[in-house]
């Protein structure tokens, strides 16, 4: 179980959160981007052996969305949320 640092509630159990997926680059304008880049945006996510940036929703708590860096080898949260909301 991860202990996720919520900016409003403090460290809370992972079971209070819903997983929002890894952070992807901003959605490009499909009319202004190449086919290859558009397909890459739709189908690829970062899959690092190491820290990955991901979104979590404190749905069974205060309801905020937050972003953390979590190491996929250890589950250590290497960088806490700088954002909230």
């Amino acid at each position: 179980m991860l202990l996720i640092p919520c900016p409003f509630c403090g460290p809370r159990n992972e079971s209070e959160f819903a997983f929002g997926g890894p952070v992807k680059p901003d959605r490009p304008d499909p009319n202004a981007t190449s086919d290859a880049d558009w397909v890459a945006h739709l189908t690829q996510v970062p899959n690092p052996l190491g820290p990955v940036q991901e979104r979590w929703w404190h749905v069974r708590g205060c309801g905020t969305w937050l972003t953390i860096w979590r190491d996929t080898r250890t589950h250590d949260i290497v960088e806490g949320p700088a954002d909230a909301g």
Binding site: M1, N13, E14, S15, F19, P22, D35, A36, V39, A40, L42, T43, Q44, V45, N47, L49, V52, E54, R70, T72, R73, T74, H75
Partner: protein
């Protein structure tokens, strides 16, 4: 008669008696530990199910035996040792079902072919259905499966409880009452170690080199961009064709060649109970509750659950994922409350964007991948057969043609989300 029979020590009753009379001193090693050469015709990275099977069919079907199988740990110690050995073909798409039907068929003949007892037990899988959307989805699968000769049949709740007497939960007052079941008679289980060892012994006898404790750290590309070989912990090994069959670490390796793939790596949980007397004679799958189990020949309940949500390269499991699975299981099988759980473990495996496998030559000429095997155990024979065909001939085998990388280029997904534990 296949040619590897000549120099492979056969396992049978006669050899057992003969060795017994000789105090069992005549058994030979099942495979060699050969010196690492600096060049091979084909390098297969990963001595798991798909790597070994690919090497086997390269040798057997195409006569290509100048092959090295490189393994970071020990042979058959990755996901082939960590899955729950279910072999089935109840998939959803026209592209998928024939492939898995072929694989199930191949598994049934593999014990004879490899001269290694896989202890294949074709014992049927029964789905316990608790919601109407899931029942509709399974009946939709049944119609497509009928076309390709796979079997799926709906049964009533009463028949389901007769076939699975341990199913005493999920009554009319439950949050999710059991509404019926689906029976898949083609499904079976077998022994995962035997699959790895059987293929390994056969390829060794045909002259393929298996190198354990040989971690590949980097893919090497030539000036023209094609694959040139691999860097390993024991030195550089060159080949014009390299097959990546490493499950969860596919992207870790392909990124060393500058290649990005629509895969992400996740952790899946399994655990086993203490052995008990025969209680359940089928594989039980509960898709609405998110767990499945079968009873091993030893009597242990082999139980699998849903994946951990985030990406993970770990091989242990999170306690709450484990607890959630147990809670769901006890709601349908309350008598399991008294079972002691003996072992729990996880494995990291990669899943593609559309939850179907990827078998293809990549944009790096000579670099092949077999990846996205979420539930890849059942696909080992057909996966090896079809990938070997592609590597040897340069053309995709008809059964694997839908699973190429180019499907993403055309956004032509083979969507199998929901037919595996990926839910």
């Amino acid at each position: 008669m296949v040619k590897y029979m000549h120099n492979m020590q056969r396992y049978n009753v006669a050899s057992l008696i003969w060795q017994g009379l000789n105090k069992h001193k005549g058994w030979t090693r099942a495979w060699r530990s050969p010196p690492l050469k600096d060049r091979y015709e084909v390098i297969v990275i990963g001595a798991g199910g798909h790597g070994l099977a690919t090497a086997y069919y390269l040798a057997k079907e195409h006569g290509i035996t100048n092959v090295a199988v490189l393994e970071r740990g020990w042979l058959g110690g990755g996901n082939i040792a960590r899955n729950t050995v279910t072999v089935r073909s109840n998939y959803m798409r026209d592209a998928s079902i024939p492939f898995y039907v072929k694989s199930v068929e191949m598994f049934e003949g593999l014990t004879d072919e490899l001269n290694f007892n896989l202890m294949h037990s074709k014992r049927t899988m029964i789905d316990v259905v608790q919601t109407y959307p899931k029942m509709r989805e399974l009946r939709r699968r049944q119609l497509t499966m009928d076309i390709y000769g796979s079997t799926y049949r709906q049964i009533s709740e009463a028949e389901l409880r007769r076939r699975v007497p341990a199913l005493t939960g999920g009554g009319p007052d439950a949050r999710l009452p059991v509404i019926g079941g689906m029976v898949h008679t083609d499904a079976g289980v077998n022994r995962h170690d035997a699959v790895a060892w059987g293929y390994a012994r056969a390829i060794d006898a045909m002259g393929v080199d298996i190198h354990q404790q040989t971690a590949v750290t980097q893919l090497i590309r030539a000036q023209d961009g094609s694959i040139e070989g691999v860097e390993t912990a024991r030195g550089t090994v060159r080949a014009d064709k390299v097959v990546v069959a490493v499950s969860g670490h596919t992207t870790t390796l392909t990124e060393t060649a500058g290649l990005k793939l629509p895969l992400r790596t996740m952790n899946l949980t399994a655990f086993v109970s203490e052995p008990v007397k025969p209680l359940v004679d089928v594989i039980v799958n509960c898709p609405d509750s998110g767990f499945y189990f079968s009873q091993s020949d030893k009597g242990e309940m082999v139980i699998g659950g849903a994946p951990d949500m985030g990406q993970s390269f770990r091989r242990d499991i999170k306690q709450h994922v484990f607890e959630d699975t147990v809670t769901a299981m006890l709601s349908l099988f309350p008598s399991f409350k008294r079972l002691k759980l003996m072992r729990q473990w996880g494995g990291h495996l990669d899943i593609a964007h559309d939850a179907s496998p990827i078998m293809d030559q990549t944009d790096v000429p000579g670099l092949f991948i077999t990846a996205g095997w979420w539930g890849g155990y059942k696909a080992i024979p057909a996966g090896g057969l079809t990938l070997a065909h592609l590597v040897a001939t340069g053309r995709p085998h008809p059964l694997m043609a839908p699973f190429t990388l180019s499907r993403f280029r055309h956004l032509d997904y083979v969507m199998e989300t929901g037919t595996t534990t990926a839910r």
